[in-house]
Amino acid sequence: MSAADLLALAPLWIAAGAAIILLLLISVRRHFGLSAGFSILAAAAGLASVFVVGRLAPRTVTALFTVDGFALFFIGVFFAAALIIFLVASSYLPPSAERREEFFLAAFAALLGSSVLAASAHFVSFVLGLEILSVALYVLIAFPLERRESIEAGTKYLVLASASAAFLLFGGALIYGETGALDFATWAARTQELPLSKPLFILGVSLIIVGLGFKLAVVPFHIWTPDVYQGAPAPSAALVATISKGGMLAFLLRFFWTIGLPRFPSLVLVFSLIAGASMIAGNLLALRQNRVKRILAYSSISHLGYILVAFLAGGAAGLEAAAFYLVAYIITMTAAFGSVAMLSSADADADLLEDFRGAFWSRPGPAAVMTLAMLSLAGIPLTAGFLGKFYVASAGVGASLWALVVILVATSVIGLYYYLRVLTAMYARPREGTAEARPQGPRRGARASGAIALVLLVLLLLWLGVLPTGLIDAIRTTAAALAGAVLPPGSGGGLP
C-alpha cells in the first residue's frame, strides 16, 4: 500500500478519525458546543478532501476499494449531507438530552459505512461497510433513551437489519461457491463464462437483493420504514433516509453495472416488480397517514421506486438519472427532516399533521422550507425534484420502459395528494383558543445553525431546480468514470 493509496482513502480516514477523536474528546470533556463544532469542521474537511483525492482517481486501493470519480462523487454528497444534518442537529438536540454528543460519533461511523459502500469493489468491503453503517444506525435511532418510541424503533431496526444481513451473507457464500472469488470483477468475468441460468449465482444475487432491498426500504422489504422514521429523532431519520440509502444505492449501481444486469432477465424482472410495487405501495400507503414522519417514510419508499426506474433504464443515461435523482432526493429529504427538526420542541418531535397546523403563520421560515421540500418531492418546477423526475422519466422513456413510466406518472399524481395535505395543514389558520402556536421549535438561542442549514438547503433546492447544468456535468463525468472503467466505450450510452 503506497502513500498515494493511503491518500486516496482520505475521506474514509477523516470519517474514521473524526469518530475516534470525538470518542476521546467526549471522555475527556463532555461539551456539546465543542463536539458539534468539531464535527461540523471534520465533515467540511471530509468534503474538501474529496476534491483533493479527485486528482488521484481512478485508483484501485488493495482488492477492496475502487476510488474512482463515481465513488468520490457519492462520498462527497454524503459528507455534504452530513455537514448539513450536523448543523440541524446542533440546533435540534436539546440541552436536557443525555449523551447528545454521541450523536455525532455515531453519525461519523454511519458516514464511514456509507462511504465504504460507495467505494467497495469486493464482497468483504461491502459487508464491512454495511455492518459499520447498520451498527451506527441502531445507535442513532435509539439514542434518546427517554423516548419509548425511539427504543422501539431502534430494536425493530436491529432485528430486521440483522436478519437481512444474514440473507446477504448467505447470498455471498453461494456466489463464492459458484465463482470461487469474492471480488466483483471476478464475479463479472465468471458470469461471462458460466451459462447464464446458473441457478446458484442467480439465487446468491437474489439473496443479496434481499439485503439491499431492506436497506433501501423498497417493497416488499419496507415494513420497518414508517416505524423507524416515526420513532427516530429527526436528524437520525434524516441520516437513515439520505446517507444510508445513498450508500446502498451507490453500491447497487456499481455492483449491477459491474456484473451487467441486462444479461440477467430474471433479475431485471425482479427489479421491475420491486420498482413498480414500491411506487404503488409507497404512494397508496402514504395517503391515509396522519403523521408527517410516516408520510415522509412512505414517500421515501416511493422515491426509491422512482430511482429504480432510472436504474432499470440502464446505460449511461439511466446511471446519470439515478445519480441526479439521488442528489435531489437527498437535498429534499434533508430539507424536510431539517424543517421537522426546527419545528420540534425539546421533548417530542413535531409529527402529527395537527402539530404543523398554522406553522406557516407562527414559524414562517421552517414552514417555507417544508413547503419547498414538499413541492420538490411532488416534482413541481423550480425545485430539484422537478428536474429529478424529468430526468428519470426521460431515462425511462428513452429505454422504452413504458409500464414503469406510466406507473411513475400515475403514482406521482396520487403522491401529490398527501404532499398537499402537509401544505394545507401548515397554511391552515391556527386553531382558535390555543394560547401559543403549536410548533415551537428549539430554544431561540439555539436556532442559528439550523437556520443556516435550512438556508443552504433552500439555495441548493432552487439552484438544482433552475440551473442544474453544473451538477449534470459533474454527474456525466461520474457516470463516464463508471461506464468507462467497466464496459468498452460505446456500449453504455443510450443517449447523446
Partner: protein, 519 residues
C-alpha cells in the same frame, strides 16, 4: 429583450409585493398594479410596433424572439417567442390581471402581500405558457402556474376551498404529467430519427411520428382537455371557480382555461394532421356536448359563482368545436371567442365577487329585486349577461358566429346542434340577471351599489367587449397569420367539402366577411 421583461417584471413584482405587504397591505396592491401596468404598456408597445408586420401575409413566423441555452444536456433552451396568437393572449393576460387586482382591492384583507405574490406568479406562469417555444420550458411554465393558483384558492377561497384547491391541482397535474410523457416521447422519436435531441418547438412539432402519433397526441389532449375543459374532464372547474376569490375566478376563467385552448391550437393541431383529423369528430362532439351540458347545468345552479362557472363550460365548448372543425375561419373565431369569453366571463365573476362581498352569500335563492338598490351593478350585469348570450354588437356574437359559420362548412350537423346552445345561453344569461335584479326581494338583504373603483373596472371591460363586437378586425388581423399557418396543414392535404365543390374561397382570410357582418 422585451419578452423576458414581460416575465421578469411579474416575477420580481411578485417578490416585491410580498415584501411590501409586510409594511402595509396597500403597498402590495400598488406594486401589483404597477407591475401589471408595466406589462400592459410593454405588450401595447410590441403590438403597435409590429402591427404593420402582422397584417402582411407571409410575415415572419415570430415577431420577437429571445433564446439562451439552459440545460444543454437535453438540448433545452430558454426560448421565448411571440407571434400574433401569443400576442393577443398575452395582452389579454395583462389586461385581465390588472383588472382582477383592482377588482379585489377590498375583498382580500388577510396576508395581502402573499396574495399578490401568488397572483403575479400565476400570471407570470400563464404568460410563460403563451411565450414558450421550447417544449420543456412550456411544461415548466404549465406546472409552475399550478402552485400559486392552488394557494389562491386554498388560502383566500370560500367555505369549501381546500377540497376545491386539491381537486384543481390533482386534475391539472394528472393531465400535465400525461403531457410530459408525450413531450418526452416526441423528444426521443425525433432524436432517434435525426440524431438531434432537442425540445425545440420548430423541430419537434410537425416531425414525422409514424405509428406513435395517436399516443403522443393523446397525452397532449389529456392535458389540454382537462384545462379547457372538455366534458367529461370538467368536474374540477365548477368547484375551483366557485371557491376561488374573485381575482382567482377571473384568472381561472379568463386566462387559465385559455392555456388549454392555446395548447390545442399551438401544439395539437400542427402535431400530426392524420391523427388530429381522425380525432376531430370526437373533439367536435366533446365541444358540442360541453356547449349544451354546460348550459343546462348553468341554468340549474342556485350558487351564483357555480352558475357563471358552468357558462364557462358552455362557452369553452364553442372553442373546442371551432378548434376541431379544422377550419381557418372557425379558428379565427376561436381566437376571438377566447378573448371575448375572457372579458365577459371575467366581468361576470367580478359581478359575482361584488355581490358576494356585499351580501356574504352566493345563494341565488336569497337574491332578487336588487335593481333599485344597485342600478349601476345591475347595468353592468345586464351588459355582460347579454354579451354572454351572444347579442349582436358585442364581441361574443362575432366569435360564436365565426365558429358556427366555419364549422357549418365542414360539419353541418355539429354546427346545427351547437347553435341550439345560443338559445340555451339566452335562457341562462337572462335568468342569471333576473334572479339577482328582478322580482321581489326575498329577505331584508340590501345590495349596496358599486363605487368609482368598480365602475372603472366594468367600464374598461365594457369598452373592450363593445369594441370587439363592433370592430374586431385588429384582433383578427393580429392572429390571422399565425392561425392561418396552423390551418394550412388541413387546407392543402385533403379537400374539405368547401373546396370539393369548387369554391376556392380564401377561407383563412375572413377579413371582408367579418367587416361586412359585424358592422
Amino acid at each position: 429583450m422585451m419578452l423576458p421583461w414581460l416575465l421578469g417584471i411579474l416575477v420580481a413584482g411578485g417578490l416585491l409585493a410580498w415584501a411590501a405587504g409586510r409594511i402595509a397591505p396597500a403597498w402590495a396592491r400598488w406594486v401589483a398594479v404597477a407591475a401589471l401596468g408595466a406589462d400592459l404598456v410593454l405588450v401595447a408597445v410590441i403590438w403597435i410596433r409590429h402591427y404593420q408586420g402582422l397584417t402582411l401575409l407571409g410575415a415572419p413566423a415570430w415577431l420577437l424572439e429571445w433564446q439562451v441555452p439552459w440545460i444543454p444536456r437535453f438540448g433545452i433552451t430558454f426560448h421565448l417567442a411571440v407571434d400574433g396568437l401569443s400576442l393577443v393572449l398575452v395582452a389579454l393576460t395583462a389586461f385581465l390581471g390588472l383588472l382582477s387586482v383592482i377588482a379585489s382591492w377590498t375583498e382580500v384583507k388577510a396576508r395581502v402581500g402573499f396574495f399578490h405574490f401568488n397572483l403575479l406568479w400565476v400570471l407570470a406562469g400563464i404568460i410563460g405558457v403563451f411565450l414558450a417555444m421550447d417544449l420543456f420550458l412550456f411544461y415548466f411554465f404549465w406546472e409552475l402556474m399550478l402552485v400559486p393558483m392552488y394557494f389562491l384558492i386554498g388560502l383566500w377561497g370560500h367555505e369549501k376551498r381546500i377540497a376545491a384547491a386539491f381537486k384543481f391541482f390533482l386534475f391539472t397535474q394528472a393531465g400535465g404529467l400525461a403531457m410530459l410523457l408525450s413531450i418526452l416521447a416526441l423528444h426521443f422519436v425525433h432524436g432517434r430519427a435525426t440524431g438531434v435531441y432537442t425540445f425545440e418547438y420548430a423541430a419537434l412539432i410537425g416531425a414525422p411520428l409514424g405509428a406513435a402519433a395517436p399516443w403522443i397526441m393523446l397525452g397532449f389532449l389529456l392535458a389540454f382537455l382537462v384545462k379547457t375543459p372538455g366534458v367529461p374532464l370538467h368536474t374540477w372547474l365548477p368547484d375551483a371557480h366557485a371557491q376561488a376569490p374573485t381575482a382567482g375566478s377571473v384568472i381561472l376563467a379568463g386566462l387559465l382555461l385559455k392555456t388549454g385552448a392555446y395548447g390545442l391550437i399551438r401544439f395539437v393541431l400542427p402535431l400530426s394532421p392524420e391523427a388530429v383529423r381522425a380525432f376531430a369528430p370526437f373533439g367536435m362532439a366533446i365541444g358540442v356536448a360541453g356547449i349544451l351540458y354546460g348550459a343546462k347545468l348553468a341554468f340549474a345552479q342556485t350558487d351564483l359563482k357555480r352558475m357563471v362557472a358552468y357558462t364557462s363550460v358552455s362557452h369553452m365548448g364553442f372553442v373546442l368545436l371551432g378548434i376541431f372543425a379544422l377550419d381557418g375561419m372557425a379558428l379565427q373565431g376561436v381566437v376571438l371567442q377566447i378573448v371575448c369569453h375572457g372579458i365577459s366571463t371575467g366581468a361576470l365573476f367580478i359581478v359575482a365577487g361584488a355581490v358576494q362581498e356585499r351580501l356574504k352569500t352566493r345563494d341565488l335563492g336569497l337574491m332578487g329585486g336588487f335593481w333599485n338598490d344597485a342600478p349601476r351593478l345591475g347595468g353592468a350585469t345586464l351588459l355582460f349577461a347579454l354579451a354572454s348570450l351572444g347579442l349582436p354588437g358585442l364581441g361574443n356574437f362575432v366569435a360564436e358566429f365565426l365558429i358556427l359559420f366555419g364549422t357549418f362548412r365542414v360539419a353541418p350537423v355539429f354546427a346545427v346542434v351547437a347553435s341550439l346552445g345560443l338559445i340555451a345561453s339566452t335562457i341562462y344569461a337572462l335568468s342569471l340577471f333576473q334572479r339577482i335584479f328582478h322580482g321581489t326581494k326575498p329577505g331584508a338583504l340590501r345590495l349596496q351599489d358599486i363605487g368609482a373603483r368598480e365602475v372603472a373596472v366594468f367600464a374598461a371591460l365594457a369598452l373592450a367587449i363593445v369594441w370587439l363586437g363592433l370592430y374586431p378586425q385588429p384582433v383578427l388581423n393580429t392572429s390571422r397569420t399565425a392561425v392561418a399557418g396552423i390551418g394550412d396543414a388541413y387546407r392543402h392535404s385533403s379537400p374539405t367539402p368547401g373546396q370539393a365543390k369548387g369554391a376556392p374561397v380564401s377561407r383563412d382570410d375572413p377579413g371582408p366577411h367579418v367587416r361586412g357582418e359585424a358592422r
